[in-house]
């Protein structure tokens, strides 16, 4: 993969902005961390939904799995997990700073690799489904996981799971800064990975699957292998995002926080579509715009925020069916490096 001079300037600019952001807008650290998580979710969903043409509602499974795993490892490494999650337990456990960060580090590793392995295991059967059948099946995955985890006592069941509180290090701002830089790091990691695979043959194969899977197979491509690898990559980063989100929220509830298919599961699809699916930058722009609008609606349309959000979605679908990136591409094709033949364009208009 080669980076042009212009791109290099852009990336350095964004990186600088990302590192400076929590200091420029200290009050928005939590929102910025959530924005990073949202971008990771939208970008990884785009691998399936955008590039491969498989509309997955099941990525929330990996996100929730990562969240529970990270917190469980973080607690379980030092204290008995069952006593931690037991309600009404009289004992109070406190992590020392070293324990907290060690636990978080190991927790995140587990939160990344286990979901990836799970994706590999279930992928073989589920990715054999196509179209609506795949969408419905993955929708069930998230719902089932939520109900099952709500019945497992050791992770708190219906009581929920309070994740370890952030230890007393430095100032009040250190928690926000820690989680922001962690999520920003994961965002950068995701971007590099996704950009990397989008510049290889792998992306072309995914596109081939999207455009005509049977033909791709007939050309000798082992589509199943690529579909599974793609899903594993998404699962890896969704798990990481979930682990961070668990620590950030501080309280895990089975259906409302972890396997939150109704919100996060739908939002990741929405953000990718808003920005323009099947593009590298689309999900990123989509997630950012979505997050800003959402926070704005919450402040200014109290009680009506979902109505406002609904109107926004309708407007997007009607006026920007291809997403923001798609709209920009149509409006300014030359900026995307496409050459427009004026004569040809006029001829087409006249034909219409």
């Amino acid at each position: 993969m080669s980076i042009s001079k212009n791109n290099l300037i852009l990336y350095i600019g964004i990186l600088t902005f990302g590192i400076a952001a929590p200091f420029l807008f200290p009050a928005f650290k939590v929102q910025l961390s959530i924005l990073c998580v949202l971008i990771v979710l939208a970008t990884t969903w785009n691998i399936q939904g955008g590039e491969m043409g498989y509309n997955s509602f099941g990525n929330i499974l990996f996100y929730g799995l990562g969240m529970y795993l990270c917190a469980s490892v973080q607690v379980g490494m030092f204290f008995p997990l069952a006593e931690w999650t037991e309600s009404g337990g009289e004992k109070t456990f406190v992590h020392t700073p070293t324990q907290f960060f060690q636990g978080m580090a190991f927790g995140l590793l587990v939160a990344a690799f286990v979901p990836a392995i799970v994706a590999g295991l279930i992928g073989y059967s589920i990715l054999g489904l196509r179209g609506h059948y795949f969408a419905i099946c993955t929708l069930g995955l998230g719902v089932a996981a939520g109900e099952i985890s709500g019945g497992i006592e050791i992770i708190g069941a219906g009581q929920g799971f309070t994740t370890p509180p952030f230890p007393d290090v430095g100032s009040l701002d250190s928690r926000g800064e820690f989680f922001y830089f962690l999520s920003f790091f994961v965002l950068v990691l995701t971007f590099i990975t996704v950009r990397g695979i989008y510049s290889t043959r792998f992306k072309l194969i995914l596109n081939a699957i999207r455009d005509n899977e049977d033909k791709a197979e007939a050309m000798g491509i082992e589509t199943m292998k690529y579909k599974i690898v793609g899903w594993m990559i998404s699962a890896f980063f969704c798990g990481l995002a979930g682990g961070i989100m668990g620590g950030l929220v501080g309280y895990i509830d089975s259906t409302d926080v972890a396997f939150d298919g109704r919100e996060m599961g739908v939002f990741m699809v929405l953000m990718a579509i808003l920005g323009g699916k099947g593009t590298l930058w689309g999900p990123i722009i989509g997630a950012t715009v979505f997050h800003i609008f959402k926070e704005g609606f919450w402040t200014f349309f109290l009680g009506w925020q979902y109505v406002a959000l609904g109107v926004l979605i309708v407007v997007i679908v009607i006026y920007f069916p291809e997403g923001i990136m798609g709209w920009l591409r149509e409006k300014y094709p030359e900026r995307f490096g496409e050459v427009v033949d004026e004569k040809d364009r006029k001829a087409q208009v006249e034909l219409k």
Partner: protein, 412 residues
């Protein structure tokens, strides 16, 4: 590539937007004490969220119109910034963060439900923001060593264990068989633990122990089991929807059980919505209008009931009453601390020992109110079909005698 220009201008637009939207309130603006609250205005807890908000608003208006809060020789008025947490813990934690770090709120009121309070408490604790909450009863809130959390209500495990005691008493001291159906959420599961303790203590036996999904709309499977097992007591808890679903399906399926104990009957306006079908249901309540507690602002329960009904058009459930009480506690603490220093206010809160129309308030080490017992009321209807909630236990407050066992459906 020109695309870069688009993205760069997008980012700079974003930066400008962020920097202009930093609006900060101070904790005390002019003569206003600004409190922050995340309330469930939408989502599964929306009806109770509104009860909570009405309770807060009622108390704010009353305290402000009766002279406000006097601190350092100056009079201040309460003001509340509300956000909608959508009954979602993730959202609630974010909003708490936002109230504190963006809106500069230094004192918080609690949300509705234990789960949401659990999500907010770590945030308020981190920033040292005193929070008086009126709707988070889960016991595990009070064993986490939180210093800035104060709850005006009795913990959840005390809700229905009295009912088991009552059933055992009616059974001549012998153990009873108990069927339990609880929603999978922090509050209901804690009520369940309390009932389990009571079962153990009284030598009773649990015959059904079902977990019900959130957004409880159907519990027919449990009721079929109840019909076959014929337990002495059926215990159901699942917030407002749980209470409504239970009564609807019990009456539809004509399930006969000698004692039916529930939570959230008054918040669900059971006697109004289901009339005679809800008759004989036994309900745990933090407060009832006939209790004889008094204070200067709302006088007593009956007056509160009348004033609230006049203002909002429905009788106040205990969720509203306890929310109003939270404001009284804050006012009292501010005046005793005579300062807006968070630590001083926190210490004043910890030393609270007062009576309100809602009950006595005194906080234990963990922040729970230990000076106020729970009451049980039973829905009783006259022949015309007009139903009323009457307190039957504990004996000190009882205004009617418990009807036990519940007559079978064929005889109603």
């Amino acid at each position: 590539m020109r695309l870069n220009k688009i993205i760069l201008s997008f980012i700079s637009a974003l930066a400008i937007l962020f920097s202009t939207s930093v609006v900060s309130f101070a904790k005390v603006v002019g003569d206003k004490i600004v409190l922050g609250a995340a309330i469930s205005l939408t989502g599964k807890y929306s009806s109770n969220g509104v009860h909570t908000q009405n309770g807060y608003n009622m108390a704010v208006d009353r305290i402000n119109s009766m002279g406000g809060v006097k601190v350092g020789g100056k009079t201040y008025k309460f003001d509340i910034i509300y956000y909608d947490d959508e009954s979602n813990p993730k959202r609630a934690a974010q909003l708490a963060e936002r109230l504190i770090s963006q809106d500069g709120v230094e004192f918080m009121l609690g949300p509705y439900s234990s789960g949401l309070t659990k999500a907010i408490a770590p945030v308020t604790e981190k920033y040292g923001v005193p929070m008086v909450e009126a709707n988070g009863a889960s016991r595990s809130l009070f064993t986490k060593g939180y210093k800035y959390l104060f709850a005006v209500l009795a913990p959840a495990n005390l809700y229905l264990d009295v009912a088991i005691d009552l059933a055992v008493e009616k059974n001549n001291g012998k153990g009873v068989t108990v069927a339990m159906a609880f929603e999978q959420d922090a509050f209901s599961q804690d009520v369940r633990l309390g009932v389990l303790d009571a079962i153990k203590r009284t030598g009773s036996k649990k015959v059904i122990d079902d977990k019900l999904p959130k957004e409880l709309n159907d519990m027919a499977a449990t009721l079929v089991k109840v019909k076959q097992m014929k337990p002495d007591v059926l215990v159901v808890s699942g917030h407002t929807k749980g209470a409504l679903t239970a009564i609807r399906q019990i009456s539809e399926m004509k399930v006969d059980v000698p004692m039916l104990a529930m939570t959230h009957c008054d918040a669900a306006k059971l006697s109004k919505q289901h009339g005679k079908n809800s008759q004989y249901a036994l309900c745990a309540s933090q407060w009832h209008k006939t209790l004889t507690y008094k204070d200067d602002f709302f006088k007593d329960g009956m007056t509160y009931d009348a004033d609230f009904t006049k203002e909002f058009g429905y009788a106040p459930p205990y969720q509203a009453a306890e929310s109003s009480a939270a404001l009284l506690v804050f006012k009292d603490a501010f005046e005793r601390a005579n300062s807006f220093d968070q630590k001083k206010v926190r210490d004043a809160l910890a030393a609270t020992n007062m009576q309100t129309f809602y009950g006595n308030i005194k906080f234990a080490e963990g922040g729970q109110n230990v000076d106020k017992p729970m009451v049980l009321f039973q829905v009783m209807c006259d022949d015309a079909g007009k139903c009323e909630n009457k307190v039957v236990a504990p004996t000190k407050w009882a205004s009617a005698k418990l009807i036990h066992p519940i007559p079978s459906w064929s005889k109603r």
